[in-house]
Amino acid sequence: MENHDTENSLFDLSIDETAKDHLRRICSWSMIIVITAVIGYVVAIIKALMPKTEVIQSEGFGVSVGAGQNLGSVIFGIIIGLLVNYFLYQFANLTKKGVNGMSQTDLNAGFYNLKIYFVIISILVIIVLAIVLLAGLTIGANATTK
């Protein structure tokens, strides 16, 4: 069994210089994504606190356009966004530490956070698609009964 484990580790893939370079770039861009997202949340709060709606008049018809969003929905969106971006930040931070400090533990923790990041986004996508599908079915059912 021990021999088998040793054999396995000998044939493991390695993080060579090319892989390290790719990982460093991935981490840098992930950090950029996290920073832009956080600035975006601040902007979203500012926009939510601004006047709510404006009415565009065109040829006698008043078309109401939502210029600002509800503060509650903005905060809800920010909480979910922060959760997702926390894992992206952890991935970038730990992977960079692992690659630069040659730490296998940090590298593995970084990859774990990348997995969680994709899992959370996928679950959110599934929830959104289910809601859209349900809304579509409800509208369709209402249209056929009328």
Binding site: T18, I32, T36, I46, S58, L114, Y117, S122
Partner: protein, 139 residues
Amino acid sequence: MEENQSILELLVDQTASKNLSDASRWARFLSITGFVCMGVMVIFFIAMQSQITSALSQVIPGLTDLDSFGALVAVIIIVAGVLGLLMFFLFRGSTLIKKGIETKSQDMFNRGLASLKAYFITYGIISIAGLISNLVSIF
């Protein structure tokens, strides 16, 4: 010397392989969902084309139906192109990383990481563009 270096090398060990394989599986699911959503969106716009163009002409005065149609087609092409590229990089990256781990192919694994890098670069550029447009809309 070489032996010492290989001992000190970072490895894609069992834990890393499992985490990366799982991440690749979910990333692949995301990319396929993205492609399907994009297709549905394009079909929806084609089906609702006349309603959307007339609504656009009402909202923006002075815009004819033909102008609205042109603007709509341009927006669809840009959005579908950018999202398609993003999903392509994610799909390619996840597939190559998973295959690389399964077949223990260093070259395939590195190409997968390169595609994942391209995905994060594209995503980063889109994020920066989105933030700039958001900032501009405040003023």
